[in-house]
């Protein structure tokens, strides 16, 4: 039987369909569940998609982090189930304190703050460079250290921000799942689209079962989406490729746990 994954849809989510499609493509049974129906959302894993939950009121992810759906997600995360947040989902996870997970629940120790310069929304193609070995996290098991995953960064609030002490804890505690990179894998200043501290594009918790990723791999998960990019083949435009690697790795977590 396929592992069941709930994709929570908040008022203002907008990437749930493509996220579900990517999860289904890697052999998971993905179900869209509205956050109002959270109490019926029993599943083997959870995904928080991109968008603007609650219209980013107060600040991105702040209201959804206190939603009843997050009670379900927090229980699941504490029980060791795989949890993935993409873009706004990542903002919700950091506001909930699930990542980096160095403090109490719902007392965030870090933030995906407004981009610099100018706090402007940016939409650019990027690469996620895996910063941890596969054994660090079941969710990264399908990705070797240094693997590049193509994705689209599309956000106004994606800059990792925290105190210097907390950034040190994030680095030392091996909470950095991904950094921004060029297509050559270089992690230069120019590869960072938002001024993110340490170039961070994704964080994992201590246990390794909660992953927050700012860029959208589901928007670059099919060959037709990245035709012309290095290594892309025109042979089967509708085949999954590129960003699908992150979802394949997520799916492998269910057999690993």
């Amino acid at each position: 039987m396929k592992p069941k994954v709930v994709v929570f849809v908040f008022p203002g989510s907008n990437s749930e369909d493509e996220t579900k499609r990517a999860l289904d493509a890697v052999g998971l049974d993905a179900r869209l569940v509205h956050s109002d129906d959270a109490e019926h959302a029993t599943a083997d894993g959870y995904v928080l998609p991109g968008g603007f939950a609650y219209e980013d009121r107060i600040r991105a992810g702040a209201v959804a982090a206190h939603d009843r759906a997050l009670d379900v997600v927090i229980d699941a995360a504490e029980g060791g189930k795989p949890v993935l947040g993409i873009c706004n989902g990542a903002q919700i996870l950091i506001e909930s304190g699930l990542v980096p997970g160095t403090g109490p629940i719902r007392r965030p120790t870090a933030a995906f703050a407004p981009n610099v310069p100018g706090g402007r929304f940016r939409c650019v193609h990027t690469y996620l460079r895996t910063m941890q070995p596969p054994e660090r996290s079941p969710l990264l098991r399908g990705l070797g250290e240094g693997t590049l995953v193509p994705a689209w960064a599309a956000h106004g609030e994606g800059r990792l921000s925290a105190s210097l002490e907390e950034l040190e804890r994030i680095r030392e505690g091996r909470h950095i799942a991904f950094v921004y990179a060029t297509s050559d894998g270089e992690t230069t200043e120019g590869a960072i689209p938002n001024g993110s501290a340490l170039g961070v594009a994704g964080l994992i918790n201590k246990k390794g079962n909660v992953l927050a990723v700012m860029p959208h791999p589901e928007r670059d998960a099919w060959t037709f989406m990245h035709l012309g990019a290095p290594g892309a083949s025109r042979s089967d435009a509708l085949a999954p490729s590129g960003g699908i690697a992150l979802f394949e790795s997520f799916a492998r977590a269910f057999s690993a746990l």
Partner: protein, 151 residues
């Protein structure tokens, strides 16, 4: 350098303030009314620049839309009792020239924004300082990148 501050409040129903109130109630913070305003603070060279700013601010469309906002110049660039301002942790940068909404502001050296929150009970009184502090800590401010300023 002198400072001038303006508060911009919605004249139409403020859904963001309502969402904040409902979320705070869910967190056990008893309040029946939440007021929110965008605060724009400018650092200025002198009084002449301040007078010019008073004239220009109502014309900046990214700050003030007369169809849906009320604009008020504040008597002092800081929150009053019962209010909290939430803003970026970083201090505002000083520039030779400041442009807001495509309009150059003569004599203005810095510009920063905050969100003002005021929580009230059913009788229309401000909630206690302790309750406001709790609201700030649990929802209104993420101290990883923001700071809260009170009176």
């Amino acid at each position: 350098m002198i400072e001038r501050a303006f508060a911009v409040r919605l004249a139409i129903p403020d859904n963001e303030a309502y969402t904040a109130m409902v979320t705070l109630q869910r967190l056990g913070i008893r309040c029946e009314r939440v007021e929110r305003a965008e605060i724009h603070i400018f650092g200025l060279e002198d009084d002449a620049a301040a007078d010019e700013l008073d004239r220009v601010v109502p014309t900046i469309a990214t700050i003030y839309n007369p169809n849906k906002h009320r604009l008020r110049r504040l008597s002092a660039p800081r929150p009053v009792k019962g209010e909290v301002w939430v803003t970026a942790r970083e201090l505002p940068e000083v520039h030779d020239e400041v442009v807001v909404g495509g309009i150059r502001l003569p004599g203005v050296r810095s510009a920063w924004k905050a969100t003002s929150w005021r929580l009230q009970d059913a009788a229309g009184n401000d909630v206690s300082t302790e309750l406001l502090d709790r609201a700030v800590e649990t929802l209104l401010c993420n101290s990883a990148f923001q700071r809260a300023i009170t009176a």
